[in-house]
């Protein structure tokens, strides 16, 4: 099913020459089945775990004291929590995009990155999902009042609220991503089952593999639904960030109430996501010596996508500014001026630097093909995308309609602990995944092996 596009110029190959089915299997499976891990892994995971503990502390204090330990106030009712939520959700999107949309577009180069990109999606959505819950004043009620269930009050959720749409969108997104990820894992789990030496390990992977044995009949149905899932995830991933953007565009606050938000948010999400994939892929391939599978070609392509989506996001900023002026609406006009020259001007201009200026470096093939360069750009974009959400949430709220209610917002130490804490949670989960599951789809890599080539008459 999967073939690399006929290349017009001589691109780096998707898989370095000389690999056989076996070598691929051993190389990737070996990472999981080995008994000892690189020191770097141990350090990273333990640090991540400590930071995760900090998250635990911050959340506990929050539950005890209330949302007031954060910087949120009136007029700025939403702060870090929602910023982080949107940021994480956005990051999640790239995973689905790579595994679903690029699959539909028959982009062969997705194969070696989709597995950990999907992992990234799942953990990012977990981090994201935490925030809408804990940002509420009474999480212990929000935890279930936001879902429709028969109750003794005969009261139901209010389905006109974008927050309810969020609940459904995010939970659906999480479920589907998880399914997609797991389905993709089944054949590899079978491989690990057969490859493992120790009985318990065999049993563990065996149970997860559901007794997969590579039967042609199974493969046919498998391929069938894998394609269907991809087809379902594609509109889903677009819808999720659209819905997230509704949280703002349904509101009437100048700077929120904008029709451009859905496409602009989706682009931003993919932008942030690819930046994060690069952030993860570049160290990974180095540490685990996966350069053969995650080649320059992959990095370069991702660089290109980043550049493209970056331009779309830039267009978003420009049109926001343009309509601030063109609308001739005094509130809109003031909003954009306030962003540029108001008390939070430094946030806005840093954002412009991170998200519009920096990615321009990717026009140069030199930058796209130097891992360090790419990594630097990706990091800056990650920061920039967080700033974007800060600018949207805070600078819109802090000066809305009535000058009398204008105010300022600053995150507290607890805000920061919670935010950084989720990064720790993400890192921990991600590296545990790298340890116990194949970070690259083995069975799909096999299809890339030279041995897999068949004559057109026989293969496809």
């Amino acid at each position: 099913m999967i073939n690399p596009k006929p290349a017009t110029y001589e691109p780096a190959p998707l898989i370095e020459p000389g690999h056989t089915f076996g070598s691929i299997t051993d190389k990737i499976g070996g990472v999981v089945l080995t008994t000892k891990q690189p020191l770097s892994w141990i350090i990273v995971v333990s640090i991540g775990f400590m930071i995760m503990g900090m998250l635990g502390m911050a959340v506990t204090w929050l539950l005890l004291k209330g949302t007031g330990i954060w910087g949120v106030n009136i007029p700025v009712g939403w702060g870090f929590a929602i910023i982080n939520f949107v940021w994480w959700i956005g990051i999640g999107h790239a995973g689905t995009l790579i595994s679903a949309i690029l699959l539909l577009l028959k982009q062969g180069w997705r194969t070696s990155i989709n597995r950990f990109a999907e992992g990234m999606t799942i953990f990012a959505v977990m981090c994201a999902g935490l925030f809408p819950l804990i940002h509420t004043g009474r999480p212990w009620l929000a935890a279930y009042w936001l879902f429709p269930y028969p109750n003794s009050m005969s009261i139901w959720p209010q389905f006109r609220s974008p927050l309810i749409w969020d609940v459904f969108a995010v939970s659906t997104y999480f479920t589907v991503s998880l399914l997609f990820w797991y389905v993709g894992l089944i054949p590899d789990l079978a491989t690990l089952r057969d490859k493992a030496k120790l009985k318990p390990v065999k049993v563990a992977y065996g149970m997860l593999a559901l007794g997969w044995r590579g039967s042609a009949r199974h493969w046919q149905r498998y391929e069938h639904i894998y394609l269907l899932l991809a087809g379902l995830s594609t509109p889903l991933v677009l819808s999720v960030h659209t819905v997230v953007s509704f949280d703002f565009s349904i509101g009437i606050i100048p700077g929120w109430h904008a029709t451009i938000f859905p496409p602009y948010f989706v682009a931003g999400a993919i932008y942030a996501g690819f930046a994060m994939v690069l952030t993860l892929a570049i160290p990974l391939r180095k540490v685990y010596g996966m350069e053969d599978f995650i080649t320059m070609r992959h990095l370069e392509n991702m660089g290109k996508v980043t550049l493209l989506t970056g331009m779309i996001v830039g267009y978003g900023y420009i049109s926001e500014a343009f309509f601030g002026w063109y609308s001739a609406n005094k509130y809109e006009g003031f909003m954009i001026l306030n962003r540029m020259f108001g008390p939070y001007w430094y946030m806005y201009w840093t954002l412009i630097f991170c998200n519009i200026i920096t990615p321009q470096a990717l026009w140069f093939r030199k930058v796209r093909t130097t891992p360090m360069g790419l990594f630097a750009v990706a990091m800056i974009v990650n920061v920039g995308m967080w700033l974007e959400r800060f600018v949207i949430v805070v600078t819109s709220l802090h000066r809305d309609f009535l000058p009398s209610s204008w105010g300022m917002y600053y995150g507290t130490v607890w805000d920061w602990m919670t935010f950084i804490g989720t990064i720790g949670m993400f890192v921990t989960f991600f590296f545990l995944f790298v340890r116990f599951l194949p970070m690259i789809s083995i069975f799909e890599m096999r299809t890339m092996a030279p041995a897999a080539k068949m004559k057109e008459s026989e293969g496809h």
Binding site: Y149, P150, N151, S152, M153, S154, I155, R193, D194, K199, K202, V203, G206, M207, L210, G211
Partner: protein, 219 residues
């Protein structure tokens, strides 16, 4: 040997999946049904009182009107618990030495109030007003049940919001003529379908929109 599992695991794996799902459903069911249970609502649970006061005796046998003790029920949101004085009106004459009434006498003697335990206890964020319900033909029995048959007072209904809404959504099915409000034995005419509807119009009872507005009960 590449065979990891025993034959039987094929069955077991399938069975355990089904059981697992069943178990989760069961748990959910437990939680939901708990919130409706008398344990949470206090429905039909009797509580200890300083005096073993029997409505069955006073209302059922003696036929004392509700308002003899609960004097404010027609004018106040709160149907008062009678002051000790009210008890003593009779019990200074009869049963003057009954040991069971000692707490009452003591209260009257040392001027220390009786401390009853609340039976019908709405949450503090719910504002129920007796006077309007009585005025609009909601019988005591409708909410409190046949107290004339209760040796010890207990909460007849769940007092949950869904229960309140039954009546607030279709009052015509519950209200009765004003003169029957305090009757324990009143039966609505069975053969008269729009009897309730007529009362609703006659008593100018607010429409359902009003009756189901949040601020009608919560403020």
């Amino acid at each position: 040997m590449s065979q990891v599992f025993h034959r039987s695991t094929n069955i077991w794996s399938k069975v355990s999946i089904v059981l697992g799902l069943a178990f989760v459903t069961f748990l959910a069911w437990i939680v939901v049904s708990l919130s409706w249970s008398g344990y949470v609502t206090g429905q039909s649970v009797t509580v200890d009182q300083p005096v073993q006061f029997s409505h069955a005796h006073h209302v059922g046998s003696m036929g004392i009107d509700c308002r003899y003790c609960h004097t404010t029920v027609e004018e106040s949101p709160f149907a008062n618990i009678p002051p000790t004085k009210t008890c003593m009106n009779c019990h200074s004459q009869i049963w003057t030495s009954a040991p069971i009434l000692e707490p009452v006498r003591a209260s009257f003697r040392d001027n220390t109030p009786l401390r009853w335990t609340r039976v019908h206890d709405l949450p503090d964020f719910v504002y129920f007003n007796h006077s309007i319900h009585v005025a609009k033909g909601v019988g005591c029995v409708t909410c409190h049940g046949r107290v004339d048959r209760m040796p010890l007072m207990l909460q007849e209904n769940s007092l949950q919001m869904s229960w309140c809404l039954n009546c607030h959504r279709n009052p015509d099915q519950y209200i009765r003529p004003r003169d029957q409000v305090f009757s324990m034995t009143y039966e609505r005419p069975a053969n008269d379908p729009d009897f309730g509807k007529r009362l609703v119009t006659e008593y100018k009872i607010a429409d359902v929109k009003q009756l189901t507005s949040c601020s009608t009960c919560h403020r």
